[in-house]
């Protein structure tokens, strides 16, 4: 008995999604004087209640691994900030035969910024000129110089620590001072120095000094659990509150967008959404729309917005919506470092993530593969967790006093390394609407197609070799499950696993091969913008979140400018 309820109010802008892109747009647009309504498919967030900061594993009956141990060795455990998951009940997605794709989604105010790694890296000038540089992929319709002022704005506002390094592959930004390295990091840096691999302070959206009334980090290493003092960046705590403070912001939670409705004039006029609480369909009207639901979810919404004017989906006359899907190339390994056995117990927590990292360092020579990767690493005397002693138990076997002591001796002596490299878009990696499946709200779901190409596999191989040389140079014993063959050659992860999926509504100057113009505005429908990572043309070896915010900020200012000119 679906009853369509029409809201009489017409907002200036309707934003779909409350994460990095949506949150940034909400802040900028409302502060610029526009009235904004935001649709979020999940519930509101209450940090005091929802965050498990400072909880010990033994304070939870399942010690953090959930009912039946379902999260043992999984990313999302009971400690993680709420509502991010690989699977959502009643909201499936599918993979085409032979394709392996994993989609981490979040249904809560703030989206995945509640759990992200806080790694905040600028793209380099060369990343915007991919095709001009090596003939593969495409150039962006914008340059680093055009985006740079927006990186400045984002960094200044959210707070990012780091250091000026003058590394061409990793442009400097506006940085807070970095935290000093941990023991594990000093050992790795020494080895990297010998190998001529850059190993420099990481760039993370965590405050080492108070910024805009937010307290500085208190070094509990638990950013992924959510931070009660908002000392790290999340859209829910840093972007949404200032939008609310303007009095021009309406947040609708439990609102799952189904379709963007187009008027006779070919302009978007409303979003039809499912109000999850009542399972009824409603509409919200606006003069402009910012789709910011995450790259694939945004593509899904456009593809599901079919009409007589746009039979292949909204803004899809190019057929590029859902295409050019990429994720980061991920491969990991680690090492056992005997010198760490001798470390006296000490506080190793630090910020929630790495204090040092390795930006791409071989930009000045020809390699076996195109593009590059950076290396993230971590380990040491972290808070013990379920599953952590599996490897040690397997190695030692036996039982009793010697096993117990061996676990203590080996505790904190492992350092893990993870490469994050650039994937070049290919024709076999994309998403489309699954013709056979709808979710529990009746909305057709996505079907993923995925294939790595040789370039990515070569990159993963190189990562493994680099990890080995770092570990062995540092006096450690290399440990890797990666094999040259099989489903995951050289340890390359399945598509989507690194959670940097993007490119599904890319920008470009040619409307025949791209969805958006350089302001994230749809070529086909000028009051529709897509401001999440769907807009990206390349997926360089830098985590996308900072660039999502910079582009969303830029698109929002453009929209305000249009509104002032009366063309909204």
């Amino acid at each position: 008995m679906a009853q369509v309820v029409r809201s009489p109010k017409v907002y200036d802008v309707c934003i779909i999604g409350s994460g990095a892109a949506g949150g940034t747009a909400a802040k900028v647009l409302t502060e610029g004087g526009l009235s904004v309504v935001m649709l979020e498919a999940g519930p509101p967030l209450n940090p005091e209640k929802d965050f498990k900061e400072h909880v010990w594993p033994y304070q939870l009956a399942h010690r953090g691994v959930g009912v039946g141990g379902e999260f043992r060795h999984e990313l999302g455990d009971e400690f993680m900030a709420p509502n991010g998951a690989w699977e959502i009940d009643g909201e499936p997605y599918t993979s085409a035969p032979g394709s392996q794709f994993h989609w981490f989604r979040s249904r809560i105010v703030g989206g995945r910024t509640n759990h992200w790694g806080r790694i905040a890296l600028r793209f380099a000038p060369v990343d915007f000129r991919a095709r001009s540089t090596d003939g593969m992929g495409d150039d962006w319709p914008i340059t680093y110089e055009e985006v740079s002022p927006y990186y400045d704005k984002v960094e200044s506002y959210i707070g990012v620590f780091g250091t000026k390094e003058n590394i061409p592959s990793a442009p400097d930004g506006i940085f807070l001072p970095p935290p000093v390295p941990r023991c594990t990091e000093t050992i790795v840096k020494k080895a990297c120095d010998k190998l001529n691999i850059h190993c420099v302070p990481s760039r993370m959206a965590i405050l080492t000094k108070p910024v805009n009334g937010r307290a500085a980090c208190h070094y509990c290493a638990q950013c992924g659990r959510g931070c009660i003092t908002a000392s790290n960046f999340s859209s829910s705590q840093v972007m949404i509150p200032p939008a609310q403070a303007t009095g021009r912001f309406t947040l609708m939670t439990g609102a799952m967008a189904r379709e963007i409705v187009v008027g006779k004039d070919g302009k978007a006029e409303a979003v039809a959404y499912i109000d999850k609480a009542t399972r009824s369909e409603k509409r919200v009207h606006a003069r402009a729309f910012m789709v910011a639901a995450s790259a694939c979810e945004s593509a899904r919404l456009l593809l599901n917005s079919r009409s007589t004017l746009f039979p292949d989906g909204l803004a899809n006359s190019s057929g590029a919506v859902g295409r050019y899907l990429t994720d980061s190339v991920g491969s990991s390994a680690g090492g056992y470092f005997p010198q760490l056995e001798k470390m006296p117990p000490h506080n190793h927590d630090g910020v929630g993530g790495m204090h040092l990292y390795m930006p791409w360092w071989r930009y000045d020579r020809k390699n076996d593969f195109l593009r590059g990767y950076h290396i993230e690493f971590g380990g040491g005397r972290d808070m013990p967790g379920v599953g952590e002693f599996d490897g040690i138990c397997k190695d030692h076997e036996g039982y009793g006093a010697s096993l117990k002591q061996h676990c203590r001796t080996r505790y904190g002596t492992y350092i893990g390394f993870a490469g994050r490299g650039e994937m070049i878009p290919n024709e076999r990696s994309y998403c489309e609407i699954d013709p056979d499946t709808v979710d529990q709200w009746g909305i057709p779901v996505l079907r993923f197609h995925w294939q790595w190409s040789d370039n990515e596999v070569k990159m993963a191989k190189d990562m493994q070799e680099t990890f080995r040389s770092i570990v062995e140079t540092a006096g450690g014993k290399f440990i890797s499950k990666a094999r040259p063959d099989g489903r995951h050659p050289y340890g390359i992860e399945d598509g989507g696993v690194i959670i940097h999926e993007l490119g599904t509504a890319r920008m470009g100057s040619n409307p025949k091969t791209s969805v958006l113009n350089k302001y994230c505005q749809a070529h086909d429908v000028d009051n529709v913008f897509v401001t999440d990572a769907a807009a990206f043309v390349t997926n360089p070896d830098k985590n996308p979140t900072l660039t999502i915010m910079a582009l969303s900020w830029r698109a929002s200012e453009y929209l305000i400018d249009q509104a002032k000119k009366g063309s909204l």
Partner: protein, 199 residues
């Protein structure tokens, strides 16, 4: 508890309003954050007291589980063992919710008792200490299964129980203390690394 008279919510509300005066962001000022964190931790630390009633294992099996856990990680002069750390409770709870664990651990315990009955005429718990040691020494190492394939199921069972026992012990309060983990606290600055001994 000194904090009983005033609720955590009241405190957080007050702190938050203080922060609002200077900022549109809903956050807690630095000087008050530590206090708030302690209160949150104390509240979330409320543990259940009393005797644990096994949810999956029979009373007899649970006693065997406790004995095995304690054999895997025993009490010593530095700390209590897996039993004191609550590992059997943790294992029973997860097993009660997970059919795969029920097969591996529930079935494994029955395998052990059957094997002990074959060898010694009694289930594991009733065996003499040297008999218990003999069978554990057999199933605690993969190479024994390679020599004698009849042991392979027992070796698989024990390997999984060893991991689960380590999980239960090292995520407990006494296990974390035993390891020497220091942290999960509020620091004004991160101290960095003490001198690293040479490799």
């Amino acid at each position: 508890m000194a904090t009983k008279s005033i609720s955590r919510r009241d405190i957080l509300k007050t702190l938050t309003m203080g922060a609002m005066a200077g900022s549109v962001l809903r956050v807690i000022p630095a000087q008050a954050a530590e206090y708030a964190h302690h209160m949150v931790a104390a509240e979330k630390a409320a543990t259940t007291a009393g005797v644990y009633t096994p949810k999956f294992f029979s009373p007899q099996q649970y006693k065997t589980l406790q004995a095995l856990c304690q054999a895997i990680i025993p009490e010593d002069s530095d700390s209590g063992g897996a039993k004191e750390a609550g590992a059997p409770e943790f294992i029973d709870l997860l097993t009660s919710e997970n059919p795969k664990y029920q097969l591996r651990l529930g079935g494994g315990l029955m395998w052990l008792d059957a094997e002990c009955t074959d060898r010694y005429g009694k289930p594991y718990l009733d065996c003499l200490p040297e008999q218990q040691k003999e069978i554990l020494d057999l199933i605690a190492y993969r190479e024994n299964a390679e020599k004698d394939p009849r042991l392979s199921q027992g070796v698989e069972f024990f390997a999984f129980l060893r991991e689960m026992t380590a999980d239960g012990f090292f995520t407990s309060e006494i296990g974390i203390k035993y390891l020497g983990y220091i942290g999960n606290t509020y620091l004004l600055s991160f101290p960095g690394c003490p001198p690293v001994p040479e490799a």
